[in-house]
Every structure is written in C-alpha cells, then in structure tokens.
C-alpha cells in the first residue's frame, strides 16, 4: 500500500537527532509492548509479514503523530482481534469473556532458545533464479493496496542485479494469506541519479533487496 510508512525520499519530516546514551526502552510501556508483541507472535497465529502489514495499516496521520512502539501497539491489537485471540469487546473493557485454549504459550525458560532460533524466511525450495548478477532490470511499476516490500521510490526505475541472496518467502503474498510463493531475492543496485535525478552524486547508489516478482528484464 502507498502508505506513509513508505518514507524513502520524502522531504520535510524533520532533522535526525541522535540521543546520547539512549536507553533501550524509554518507558516501561515500550518494553512491555515490545515483549507482548514477541510473546503473542509465538502463539503462531500470524507471520512477520502480517505483523509489518498490520502496523502499516495504522491511519497515516496517526502513524506520523505517534512513536514507534505505538505503531507496534496498534499492530498487535489489530492482529489479536483479526486472528480471533481477543474480541474487540475484551480489548475495550480489559476484561476477559473467555479463557483462551492456546497450547503454545511462550514460557520464560523457552525465551533464550526461541530468540536464538531462526525464523524461516529463507526456504530450501529449488526455485530457479530469473536473474543473475550483472543483469539489467527494471522494478515494476505496481501500486498494490496490500503489503509490498518494493518501495515507491524504486518503482519503474532501472537497476543492476548486484547479488543473489537465495530463495525466500515472498512477503507481498505471505502478509495477506496468499501463500509463501518462494522466489529469489536480489540486492539490486540503483544509481542515485536514476532514482533522484541530476542533483544526486554520479558516484552514489542505493541498494534495494527485491524479489523476482518485483522485477522485469530491462
């Protein structure tokens, strides 16, 4: 979706301010929101791509006016209700109507092993690559209303395949229940001038990781 989360290349969003000796969390609610999101994800009702898509669906004005963990809180509440783990009424009142029957609850003793385990975004499927390093490609000019990892600033732009990362789940379908659709992911090099015009340095480039379905031969 062409949401405000897709920020690459926008102007006027303020100065970058690096906080010295920044704490990992600025308040307890941030830490709890982070942990609640990971622990709820462990219940297995949604994947990482669905989590990202849920946060992207926060209305644009609200997304820009709120902080990072407020985006997470929005996404978590949406997933809990959409996936039927919590009813909208329970969320509103804070009181449970029924006890959940989930067997897969994350326990403290499992946390180290779970955090060390790999989320299977890379898949071993034997999918042929459509492109090889050095191939010239063009990013498709698509504007899906669902989830996509092809940022707007790269759409319709010409680049070169720099590196083949291997076969991965396709988030654009995996986020909306249309399957994993495994395919190759490449690091695609776009010159800064191709993306931003003649004011950009002729030496610079932006590398974007894109999937076969985002690309066409140029």
């Amino acid at each position: 979706m062409n949401g405000v989360h897709d920020m690459g290349g926008m102007h006027g969003l303020g100065a970058v301010e690096i906080e010295k000796n920044e704490p990992v969390f600025h308040d307890e609610w941030e830490a709890r929101t982070f942990a609640l999101t990971l622990a709820s994800g462990y219940l297995g009702k949604w994947n990482l791509d669905m989590s990202r898509f849920a946060r992207e669906q926060m209305p644009g004005p609200e997304y820009l006016a709120t902080s990072y963990y407020e985006h997470w809180l929005y996404g978590l509440c949406k997933l809990l209700v959409d996936q039927g783990l919590v009813t909208a009424k329970e969320l509103e009142s804070g009181r449970r109507e029924a006890k959940a029957s989930e067997a897969r609850v994350l326990r403290a003793t499992d946390v180290p092993a779970v955090l060390r385990s790999r989320i299977a975004a890379r898949v071993e499927d034997d999918v042929p690559a459509k492109f090889r390093p050095g191939d010239r490609v063009v990013a498709r000019n698509i504007h899906p209303t669902g989830h996509t990892r092809l940022p707007r600033y790269a759409r319709g732009r010409r680049g070169v395949i720099e590196r083949d990362h291997g076969v991965f789940v396709f988030p654009d379908t995996n986020a909306i229940g249309l399957g994993k659709k495994p395919q190759h992911v490449y690091s695609v090099r776009f010159t800064a001038r191709e993306l931003w015009g003649p004011q950009a340095s002729p030496r610079d480039s932006v590398f974007v990781d894109l999937w076969d379905d985002h690309l066409e031969p140029a």
């Binding site: 609640l36 006890k99 990892r149």
Partner: protein, 205 residues
C-alpha cells in the same frame, strides 16, 4: 492496579492501555509475564552493540576472519554465538577511504539485532528513514561526518530479511592494540554507517 507511575505522575493513556492489554492477555492465558521479563532482559542487558564491536575488532586484527566476514557474515558472526532473531541473514559491508556504506530501513525498522541489539529511536523515525536514501551526504554532514565528493556512497535499504552490518575503517593510532581494546572504541553508529570510529586521543596511553 495503580493509576500512578513510580514517580507519582498520572499514567498516560498509552501506559494505561499497555497495562490493560498485558493484564487481559495474562488473564486469558495467552502470555506469561515471566516470559515478557525474560524478553526485555535479553535486549536490555544481554544483546547489544557490544556484540557487533567484538566482530569488528576481530576483523581488524585477523585478515582471515575479515575475509570470512565479508564472504559469509552470518556464519562468521555465528562463530561468536551471535545468532537468531533478526539476524538470520547478515551481510557485512566494508567501509574504505573510497567507499562509504550506510544502512537504513525506509519501510519499517529492520536492523541486525544479534550484533547491534534493538535499533535506536532515530533509526526507526521518519527523518532518517526518509532522508538516508535521497540525501545521504547532507545527512552525514549534519551528523558531523562530511564526505569528500570523491568518496562513493552506498546506501543499503533493508527491504528483505537480509540485515546489514557496516565494518568501519580502523582508525590510525591503534596499531598493536588487541581485540578487546579495539572493541571498546567501536560504536553502534559506526556499524550503521552514520559515524566513523574516532582515532584515539594522542595523550591516551
């Protein structure tokens, strides 16, 4: 449940919402509060940029390790036991006097957790996400790191499950330092590409 925080100030609406949500999820049997504590403790106390600094220091002193890191960072980093969530696939990018690498996630907040911990606020916020791809030179200049026109800037937008770690340049004046001493001067910002590792002050032993 108290409606006031530890400092006596009234809780904000967001603080109250998160407390209510946690208590609901615990009550429903979906979440174990001890697991939440363990998750928070991991990223507050155990996993952070000190991990990445150890990797960088090893690469600075050991050419064979550096070669491995640049060829297969995921495995080379796993050598230290730094594995797992948001670090399933890591690629290391070497900064040199000619090439400067800078990492961003324009769409959300992708970041190599096992080596850098959780990302700082500025990395996840709109100003950095919007600007890093279109004006990396202006951004770096503002952050105190102007680059010569002759330097090539490579910006890496983390749009997939590949995470990027910048291998900064080793500063002059650190000849003969051991890994531990080197690791102590490597900063998080240098491993994202928004800073250089500062050379040691001349009067330092």
């Amino acid at each position: 449940m108290s409606k006031h925080g530890e400092h006596g100030a009234p809780l904000t609406e967001t603080q109250l919402r998160v407390r209510a949500l946690e208590s609901l999820l615990v009550d429903k049997g979906l979440v174990d509060p001890a697991a939440l504590d363990a998750l928070i403790d991991t990223y507050e106390n155990k996993v952070g940029p000190r991990n990445g600094a150890k990797v960088v220091a090893r690469a600075w002193v050991d050419p064979a390790y550096k070669k491995w890191l640049l060829e297969d960072a995921t495995l080379a980093i796993a050598e230290f036991g730094f594995v797992g969530r948001q670090g399933e696939e890591i690629v290391a990018l070497e900064n040199t006097p000619q090439i400067h690498n800078l990492v961003v996630c324009t769409l959300c907040s992708c970041y190599p957790w096992p080596v850098l911990g959780l990302p700082p606020v500025w990395y996840k916020a709109a100003p950095y996400r919007s600007r890093a791809v279109i004006d990396p030179r202006g951004l770096l200049k503002e952050l105190g790191m102007p680059l010569a026109e002759s330097v090539e800037v490579r910006v890496w937008d983390s749009t997939a499950e590949v995470r990027y770690l910048v291998l900064p340049e080793r500063p002059a004046g650190t000849e003969g330092w051991n890994e531990e001493r080197l690791a102590a001067i490597v900063t998080r910002d240098a491993m994202i590409g928004v800073a250089k590792v500062a050379p040691p002050a001349a009067d330092r032993p």
